[in-house]
């Protein structure tokens, strides 16, 4: 036999200012909580989407990123002969040998030379585009093989100086012209510059490849391919599914963001919970007479407890909704930062997912619960006669 919910709701409305202030505190905490999770989610999503499940990446054993890896031409030609490899159009094997280097580019909008970021320049082959269907040219054209032309990802074109269409870049004693801009969706490739692999290797005096990418004939053939690569005595290489490879690259950063975010949120939530406690203690204190009356009428202690808990849970609920509402606007923001693991530029968006929303709401409700529990217990434990007397 519960006290009607409208009792709790109307009491929140009656002390509007207090309710708004308390809810604001909780909403801010939920906002920070959700924003951090959204950042980590966006980072990981970008990186995972960057890969395809059917593709395999081969790098040197023990290298944490393509930049550190080196694959000699001889080794590369051995890998190219793997039987698990798919055959593409024209009967050619679907494999690309790529070289990855980092260059320092100046960000747009910054004057000091120190505000640069490390951008990935990827030397690719024809098959690279076939292996990466998510990459689409949006303006200009593809570079001509054998030339000093490059195409840039749209995040780079947007965020950095001098890299839009017809812009030129100078490295390795050569002038490189930007002839096209490509869109790779929300993946890491959007933060890269692509050129002809042989040209890049020559310009930077890099005689070795960084990685080899190929498509599996059959997605389940991965284990066999991996074994072939890793047990071959002539090779010092390891193989991963492309999705896994990129997921691993986001690990350190995602973990850092999550830990930092969690610890911050926990500390903040203490503040918000204290706010809720103050509000609820005050609510109980102001309604001692009502509590006594309802008990006299026959409502049990449990019902009183539930009524006050409902009030603080409502506070948590509204705070959660408000916090999520504002957090969802963060999805309009693109974060541009350096991935701690690969040391290269990465642009990603805040991403709100179903699980994050649920987690945020649950967190908010828990705040309401913890904040309201002690005051609600106080309300429930009151002696009827004392409550009536104090009214």
């Amino acid at each position: 036999m519960a006290v009607p919910l409208s009792y709790s709701m109307r009491n929140l409305w009656k002390r509007r200012l207090t309710t708004v202030l308390t809810v604001s505190g909780m909403a801010l905490v939920v906002f920070v909580f959700a924003a951090v999770l959204m950042m980590a989610e966006g980072l990981q999503k970008t990186l995972v989407d960057t890969g395809s499940y059917d593709n395999v990446v081969v790098v040197r054993k023990g290298s944490s990123s393509e930049v550190m890896s080196g694959i000699a031409r001889l080794q590369a030609s051995i890998v190219e002969m793997l039987p698990q490899m798919a055959i593409g159009p024209g009967g050619r094997r679907l494999v690309a040998k790529e070289v990855v280097i980092l260059i320092a580019l100046q960000k747009r909008g910054e004057r000091k030379s120190s505000s640069h970021s490390n951008v990935v320049v990827r030397g690719v082959q024809e098959s690279s585009l076939l292996l990466r269907p998510q990459v689409k040219l949006v303006s200009g054209r593809l570079f001509r093989p054998g030339s000093s032309e490059v195409i840039v990802g749209n995040s780079i074109a947007k965020g950095f100086k001098g890299v839009d269409l017809q812009g030129t870049l100078n490295w390795g004693m050569r002038r490189w012209t930007v002839v096209g801009v490509f869109d790779a969706g929300n993946t890491g490739f959007s933060s890269e510059i692509w050129g002809d692999a042989d040209q890049v290797m020559q310009a930077f005096r890099r005689p070795v490849y960084s990685s080899i990418l190929f498509r599996l004939r059959d997605p389940d053939a991965f284990e066999a391919a991996k074994k072939a690569v890793e047990t071959d005595p002539r090779l010092t290489l390891e193989a991963k599914r492309e999705t896994r490879y990129y997921l691993d690259q986001s690990e350190v950063m995602a973990k850092f963001l999550r830990i930092l975010g969690m610890s911050l949120t926990v500390i903040f939530s203490i503040g918000a919970v204290i706010g809720a406690m103050i509000t609820m203690y005050s609510a109980v204190a102001n309604r001692i007479g009502e509590i006594g009356t309802m008990r006299a009428l026959g409502f049990r202690r449990l019902s009183i407890l539930a009524a006050f808990l409902a009030e603080s849970l409502l506070l948590g609920f509204i705070g959660g909704i408000a916090g999520l509402f504002f957090a969802s606007f963060m999805q309009l923001i693109t974060v541009s930062t350096v991935n701690f693991q690969t040391f290269s530029e990465l642009a990603f968006r805040f991403t709100l997912s179903g699980p994050i929303a649920l987690q945020a709401m649950a967190f908010s409700l828990v705040m309401g619960l913890v904040g309201g529990l002690l005051p609600a217990l106080r309300a429930a434990r009151m002696k009827i006669v004392e409550a009536l007397r104090a009214a």
């Binding site: 200012l17 207090t18 202030l21 308390t22 604001s24 505190g25 801010l28 905490v29 906002f31 920070v32 950042m39 023990g62 290298s63 944490s64 930049v67 550190m68 280097i101 980092l102 260059i103 320092a104 910054e110 000091k112 030379s113 120190s114 505000s115 640069h116 970021s117 490390n118 490295w171 390795g172 004693m173 930077f204 963001l257 930092l260 911050l264 500390i267 903040f268 203490i270 503040g271 918000a272 204290i274 706010g275 406690m277 103050i278 509000t279 203690y281 005050s282 974060v335 541009s336 930062t337 350096v338 701690f340 040391f343 530029e345």
Partner: protein
Amino acid sequence: MMLLKILFRNAFRNRLRSGLTIMGITVAILAFGLLRTVIDAWYAGVESASVSRLVTRNAISIIFQLPLAYREKIRQIEGVKHVSYGNWFGGVYIEEKNFFPNFCVEPKTYMTIYPEFVIAPGEMKAFLADRKGCVAGRKLAARFGWRIGDTITLKGTIYPGNWEFVLRGIYRGRDQTIDESQFFFHWDYLNETLKQASPQRADHVGFYIISVTRPDLSPEVALAIDSTFKNSLAETLTETEKAFNLGFIAMSGAIVTAIQMVSFVVILIIMAVVANTMAMTTRERIGDYAIMKTMGFGGGAIAMIIFGESLVIALTGSLAGMALTYPAAAAFGHSLSNYFPIFLVSRETLWLDLLAALLIAFCAAIIPTRHAIRVGIADGLRRIG
């Protein structure tokens, strides 16, 4: 002074409420202080960097190297005092999460350019004499329990293989702002090994460190160095050490900005809480204030009481928070010592804490004060009981 007495007693009239509010403020100030300290720690490298030291590296990006032959040319430029060089090694000690910065350097010139690294002369001599020797910072050695004479093995990532070193010296920082978690060894050791294993990588350095004769000469010298190597195969980019370190931070600038914003959000949260408390408290005391008004106390006196109470609560919480920041920072810094070698609470942070307290007290009290002054005496009296 009667007002002061009333003020103080009122602040603690409802002990539970005041207690909770003060606790809330303490937590918020603590969080604010820690966040600021995290940001300071991020910039620690910049703070301790010098403007009379220059860093020269390959203009393309940090992953490309410069020829050793550049050393002589740099030394001859006017304004240059000492030239040292080194490579980032990036070795792993047992497992990746034991990360600490490790690199090889030209030991004699490096230690000359960095007087902040203080090392016993005997240890320095032993280090110079042993090509496989290495030097570690005091905090680093303490972290793994290393002692002079220990053999330390690093797994190379950029330069593959297992590399063995003998700890010949432990340096300490000249003052608290110096990073004591670094590890360096002989550049020659790396180079000789490379000459045998992969000769095309030998005789290359990752960076040059240059000290200038006068700090105001830094910009000129930097320009002179870069123009010397312009249009060569490996063009250089020279900047002050401070600018160089700032460059690194700028890369994760987005995250630092986010943390800064979040630290202000904390203040907002707690302002909401305290404002709430003051509003509730004032509403309950309308009767008291009405009585005081009948006695002749004016709006100014009432305002003083309310503001004063708000201030007492905010300051108490703030002082408690400031006091707790030190041990909390110590604990935090200890657990994050591999990410943030320097973790100190700055004086500026403390001033900001106080400022935050004042701001909170003021904002929280505005509306309740206005309300209390406006409510007519008769109305106020009616609300008693």
